[in-house]
Subunit: 251 residues, 2 copies
DNA sequence: CGCAGAATTGATACATCTCAAGCTGGGTGG
DNA sequence: CCACCCAGCTTGAGATGTATCAATTCTGCG
């Protein structure tokens, strides 16, 4: 039967105008002439699910946008304890202008396509092109808010609240992509293994599994197979997250 | 004996040239004429230790730099669980351009002086002055790195490692202010109560107290009174943090 | 001197981790 | 085509680190 198709096989256009993340990525505010320049310093790279994009400490000669798929940022301690510190979705930015080495491990969680910009020319462009650096500032401030939300989760939430929060975040993102209404029942695949969820939530994978089972038993979520989730009542799920039920949601 | 002097009593110059944070704050890269403009939109505010600067959700018509003293950013859940998500030291930036309301509680941990810029004019200036927005981007990227380091601490470190990490961070900052050599014995005051440390570390204050006692008993730190700490061997302390002993330290 | 806030210390409870065994589903080789 | 295999997942039993509840003890200050 057909072998799994690896990510390298399909070619990609260099054309920024038809790019699916054109209006959300770091280039969102660029004018036509600026895009033409970006096209000269960019190249696409594809990774299969599970592949490592870069290791922490490796030299990194590019910065990039996630075009499709999901990647994670994580840190590992000497004895192997691991903490995910970023979940990168399409349009998110990877790398730090001015920094020659990766500060975190970057891993493709699904098949992944990245739009890479050679770091030197990109840095030059940032100096002269406010539309790039202003957009990057905005995105970085959003990421900082998300990181702080995550600090509350890691420091103070219970295992059950952590799982509910993660499911709610994935549900929200999925809903925003599919443009559903809010209160009807939502249904989507979890893009992470139990182990990756554990790394994200500061738990063990056994605890993740137990809490998912508990939320299922209590009717907060329904599972089809191991990855597919249905949310019968989104408000009920939000109650389980420990967050304010009324507004105030960032990112 | 003399009454505690409240923060309001000493007047302050508006002169940016003599500002103690001139070369580290958001204005670090400004030219003389840009400073002259900033002087027209800025004002100082003082807060006593313990005072709240703003509450999460409050309207916030300014952004600001910490001139002296220490402030914290924190989030509170409905049932009172609290997590600190930022520790603001002199030269750090408070507030988000473009956001009309505070996203976090901001509290003065010590007597505090802030240099506030009216938000509207500051945002206008950002659009036209790359030296401001580029510096802000750099500072925000640094904060994001610090937040991610903190996520590792919150998600994966033991209580003992958390305390050691906090003490090491305060020691490093103190050393960088005083320009000590690295390995000689360091000595400084903890700028936080046990409760504030607990909020920072995702622990209870009892656990903080116990772990400080344990590090003291093991000779990793020495205590004079409840707040003053001496580090006889900085490398020994770093070993207790769980971090890589060799290089790779961010922020 | 005595009070109030901050910190320490003790005893116990409990959430999560750890170690271990078994399950499930999809791909593969015989 | 079937049995096997393996990664991913679930479940169980017991260990352990931290929280919780409750007394004291410090310390600075009025």
């Amino acid at each position: 039967m057909p072998k799994v198709r690896t990510a390298q096989e399909t070619p990609l256009s260099q054309d920024c105008d038809n790019c699916p993340i054109r209006h959300r990525a770091v280039c969102a505010r660029c004018e036509a002439d600026e895009l033409r320049f970006l096209e000269t310093i960019k190249y696409y790279r594809r990774f299969d699910a599970g592949q490592t994009v870069v290791w922490s400490g490796d030299r990194m000669d590019f910065v990039a946008s996630v075009v499709s798929g999901i990647a994670t940022l994580s840190q590992t301690m000497e004895d192997g304890r691991r903490q995910m510190v970023g979940l990168l979705l399409p349009s998110d930015f990877v790398g730090r202008p001015g920094r020659p080495a990766a500060a975190y491990d970057v891993t493709a969680t699904s098949d992944l396509v990245m739009c890479c910009f050679r770091r030197g020319p990109f840095e030059d462009m940032m100096r002269t092109t406010p539309s790039i650096s202003q957009r990057l500032l905005e995105m970085t401030l959003d990421e900082l808010d998300a990181a702080r939300e995550w600090m509350l989760l890691l420091g103070r939430k219970t295992a059950r609240e952590k799982i509910a929060s993660l499911v709610a975040i994935i549900a929200r993102r999925d809903a925003s992509l599919k443009l559903h209404g809010r209160s009807q029942s939502l249904s989507f695949d979890l893009p992470l293994t139990r182990e990756a969820m554990a790394d994200y939530l500061g738990l063990t994978l056994e605890t993740v599994s137990r809490q998912i089972s508990a939320l299922k038993k209590d009717g907060v979520i329904q599972l089809t197979g191991q990855r597919h989730v249905t949310i019968p009542d989104f408000n009920r799920l939000v109650e389980e997250t420990g967050d304010d039920t009324d507004g105030g949601f960032l990112v």
